[in-house]
């Protein structure tokens, strides 16, 4: 019973806000009567989504897969790189500023390079998703590991733990709350990265991911379809974020129980 109440407490406010925003949107349409090319009505968007449901579903699947693979690569690489930097202070002092600087470079600026390196197709979207989401994971891993309780590090010293044992049994679990936060940020970014990759690395085959669908709809002046595709992209991001949050919750259950 308390689980249902807790779910309602979490789900009702955002649902109410979405309903209010859609109502406000429709209200603006009635009040200002903009051209459907500029701002379509919510019902037009819904109609376009229903009409194009199969291409939209396929697009969501393709973009979601690119984002998920890119995210998985970023998660692995970020945790590994963060662990190495945390373990080797010289590398951290040398590489972390460079990584920070590279993170500032806009993704759209390097996306054409990805096309050169990865070719046209999903690989560019995957690479783009991985690149944009690796830094939050790396930074979160580094922060989490560097914050390992000094007393516990000393305890592992008295127990004569090896370096790998200390990493696996202490530093990595200690950093998990921080890593999960980084992963949640990365999950959202990976969808953005995948769509940017799709924009520049237009797919050669029959399959159209969300990025291509948006570009095609824009060229055909189908703003209602652009809105529908953007909504699909948001849903893909939301699902990925939700899955990562669920995984994080499962990983952190023991932390929360211990802190209770």
């Amino acid at each position: 019973m308390s689980a249902i109440r807790s779910f309602m407490r979490g789900a009702v406010p955002p649902a109410v806000m979405v309903a209010l925003l859609v109502a406000a949107w429709q209200g603006c349409i009635w009040a200002f009567r903009p051209s459907a090319y500029l701002v379509p009505a919510p019902m037009d968007v819904l109609r376009a989504a229903a009409e194009m449901r199969e291409p939209l579903a396929d697009a969501a699947w393709i973009t979601g897969a690119s984002a998920a693979i890119g995210f998985a690569i970023a998660a692995g690489a970020g945790v590994l790189a963060g662990s190495v930097l945390a373990a080797v202070p010289f590398l951290m002092r040398g590489l972390y500023p460079i990584a920070t600087l590279l993170q500032m470079v806009p993704l759209v600026a390097i996306a054409p390079l990805l096309v050169i390196w990865c070719g046209y197709g999903p690989r560019t979207a995957v690479a783009s998703a991985a690149i944009v989401s690796v830094f939050p994971v790396l930074a979160a891993t580094l922060d989490g590991m560097r914050g390992t309780d000094r007393g516990l590090v000393e305890l592992f010293g008295t127990l004569r733990a090896g370096r790998l044992q200390r990493w696996w049994k202490l530093e990595l679990p200690w950093a998990i709350p921080s890593i999960v936060t980084g992963l949640r940020v990365a999950a959202g970014l990976s969808v953005i990265g995948a769509i940017v990759g799709e924009f520049v690395g237009a797919f050669a085959g029959d399959e159209s991911p969300v990025g291509i669908l948006i570009l095609s709809a824009m060229r055909e002046n189908r703003t209602d379809l652009v809105f529908a595709a953007v909504a699909v992209a948001a849903i893909v991001g939301f699902v990925l974020f939700g899955l990562v949050s669920l995984g994080g919750w499962l990983l952190l259950r023991r932390w929360h129980a211990s802190a209770a």
């Binding site: 309780d149 007393g151 516990l152 000393e154 305890l155 592992f156 010293g157 008295t158 127990l159 004569r160 733990a161 090896g162 044992q165 049994k169 202490l170 679990p173 998990i176 023991r254 932390w255 129980a257 211990s258 802190a259 209770a260």
Partner: protein
């Protein structure tokens, strides 16, 4: 019989010129409870850390069971001021950690951890997470973890300092019961004169600036328990230790002023 722990002319100076210990010598008999008592800054924890191999003297030697602390690492276990339990691990898995790091098989290490939890009175709490235990229970778990490798020397660094008086008394008796059961040498660091007087077979009174032993006392109590805490010899010993500490502190303050 040789000493379980021997320190000879041990000094520890830091780079900033401060001296934590100056020419400390002591011997601890096997199977006894030795207590280092003194105010903050008298170097008692530094000395304990040297016995644990966590720090090295700048002068002098420390031996445990006849060898240097590094060589005796497997024979020594330490419980710190804080329990230092891994919050994501159940109590039994925390206790089993030292065995896990030594590569002991899962079934065996969990069995031994449960045995130690039973010894410290936490037999029913093995599945609980550290956050679900009280402060006293966490400290018991930390002691069980220190005991799980069956060390010959157990080092206790003010482990009960943050606990209430009643819990401290219970855990003091637990230390004595464990020593009787497992027969190891115990070295306890404390700033509590009452705890030192109650537990110590040999009490080293330490004073600061620089850290040194100003007096060694062997109370020789035949038995411990509530009767001892209420006895005149115990109260006299506490007053005696307090006087020794006061005199040493005054001498240290006079030395600094001069």
């Amino acid at each position: 019989m040789g000493a379980a722990i021997r320190a000879f002319g041990v000094s520890r100076a830091f780079e900033d010129g401060s001296v934590a210990l100056d020419g400390v010598s002591l011997e601890v008999a096997p199977g006894s409870v030795a207590v280092l008592v003194g105010p903050s800054g008298c170097g008692k924890t530094t000395l304990l850390r040297m016995v644990a191999g966590l720090d090295r003297p700048t002068r002098g030697t420390v031996t445990v069971e006849g060898v240097g602390p590094e060589g005796a690492a497997a024979a020594v276990a330490i419980a710190f001021q804080e329990p230092r339990l891994l919050p994501w691990r159940s109590t039994v898995r925390n206790v089993a950690l030292p065995l896990e790091l030594r590569g002991v098989r899962r079934r065996e290490r969990l069995a031994r951890a449960r045995e130690m939890l039973g010894l410290v009175g936490l037999g029913d709490a093995h599945r609980k997470l550290p956050g679900q235990l009280s402060g006293g229970m966490r400290m018991r778990a930390a002691i069980a973890r220190a005991l799980v490798t069956r060390p010959q020397v157990l080092l206790l660094d003010e482990p009960f300092g943050a606990l209430d008086e009643i819990t401290r008394h219970v855990l003091d008796d637990l230390v004595l019961a464990i020593r009787a059961e497992l027969g190891m040498t115990v070295v306890l660091v404390t700033h509590s004169i009452a705890e030192a007087a109650y537990l110590g077979d040999r009490i080293f009174v330490m004073a600061p600036a620089p850290g040194r032993i100003v007096r060694t006392v062997e109370p020789g109590f035949a038995a411990r328990g509530p009767a001892l805490r209420a006895s005149v010899p115990y109260a006299t010993l506490m007053a005696d230790l307090l006087h020794s500490l006061g005199t040493a502190m005054a001498a240290s303050a006079g030395g600094r002023a001069a």
